[in-house]
């Protein structure tokens, strides 16, 4: 189902000042297909979180000592990068609703730069981990950590590819204040990926 702006009958110049209101309620943000994908993602991670909780229940001492072995700075860095990238995507969507395509593209570029910070930090962290002996033989906590965080990294990669796509579409004027369901669907995916990270971060870097 396509996202329909309430301002579709208005010229952009009239629509812009009115768009600072939330969209109508009871809708499907983005598209139905994207929400099927998001629920598949949520189900996948729910199963992985179940593995985490069961492993934690069986090895409480190992999991309590686990966060000390990881870099809290890296964990906080991922969180800040993803949150800032998500904020930029939300601003891009607001700009598009106001009919400001160029501003929307600028916000998307910002989101991409901050989003790229995630794999860059991951690269640095993995090198740091390996230098400290945190490889696949480093115990159940580290194995669970790699299992969940690498899966999340794959989802971030999908998101970054999606972001390139929506930037191209925005740059070529394919979206407008009236029709931008593709951009909104991407935004939903990116925020869902963000939500999953907000759960992974305390489980591995904070909780003792």
């Amino acid at each position: 189902m396509r996202s329909r702006s309430r301002f579709q009958a208005l010229p952009v110049s009239y629509a812009a000042p009115l768009t600072d209101a939330p969209p109508a309620t009871g809708r499907i943000p983005g598209s139905k297909a994207m929400w099927v994908g998001i629920f598949c993602e949520v189900t996948e991670f729910a199963l992985m979180f179940a593995v985490y909780f069961i492993a934690r229940a069986h090895h409480p001492e190992v999991f309590r000592a686990g966060p000390e072995r990881l870099s809290l700075l890296a964990g906080t860095g991922y969180t800040l990068m993803l949150l800032t990238s998500g904020w930029c995507v939300a601003r891009a969507l607001h700009a598009m609703r106001a009919g400001r395509q160029k501003a929307s593209l600028r916000w998307l570029l910002g989101a991409f730069v901050f989003g790229l910070g995630y794999p860059v930090i991951k690269l640095i962290e993995v090198r740091w981990n390996l230098a400290h002996g945190l490889n696949g033989d480093a115990g159940v906590f580290i194995v669970t950590y790699y299992y969940l965080t690498f899966n999340h990294l794959i989802h971030v990669f999908w998101g970054l590819l999606g972001m390139i796509w929506v930037m191209l579409r925005t740059g070529t004027g394919s979206y407008s204040a009236d029709e931008h369901s593709g951009l909104e669907a991407f935004a939903c995916y990116w925020h869902a990926t963000d939500i999953i990270w907000l759960m992974i971060f305390p489980l591995f870097y904070v909780l003792r």
Binding site: D20, A21, P22, P23, A24, T25, G26, R27, I28, P29, W35, F39, V42, A46, F49, F53, I54, A55, R56, A57, H58, P60, R64, P67, L72, G75, T76, T79, L80, L83, T84, G86, W87, V89, A90, R91, H94, A187, C188, H191, A192, D194, I195, L198, M199, F201, P202, L203, Y205, V206, L207, R208
Partner: protein
């Protein structure tokens, strides 16, 4: 307050909560109270992203309920696993 202003404040709040969360991670004590605090911070952050970024309050009821179930289920599970870890280990003993 405009929607954009709310969005910017939400982002600032999330950054602040992330720093608080990281501070909790640096603490040496491992009490149950800290676990509840960590779960609470997780729940608040997820709620802000759902409401402000994902615009879940405007979504259909089914989407809203499913996402809220996942988002609030996790902090609750964190607390339950911490409080009843032994029971969970006994119940899932056959799996490991």
């Amino acid at each position: 307050m405009t929607e954009i202003r709310k969005l910017d404040l939400a982002w600032l709040g999330l950054v602040a909560l992330s720093v608080i969360g990281a501070t909790l991670g640096g603490r040496p004590d491992t009490g149950f109270g800290v676990t509840v605090l960590v779960a609470l911070v997780m729940g608040i952050k997820v709620r802000i992203v759902c409401d402000r970024f994902l615009e879940l309050p405007t979504a259909r009821r089914g989407i809203r309920l499913a996402m809220h179930g996942f988002c609030y289920g996790m902090p609750v599970l964190v607390i339950l696993t911490s409080a009843f870890g032994d029971t969970l280990a006994r119940l899932t003993g056959a799996l490991i």
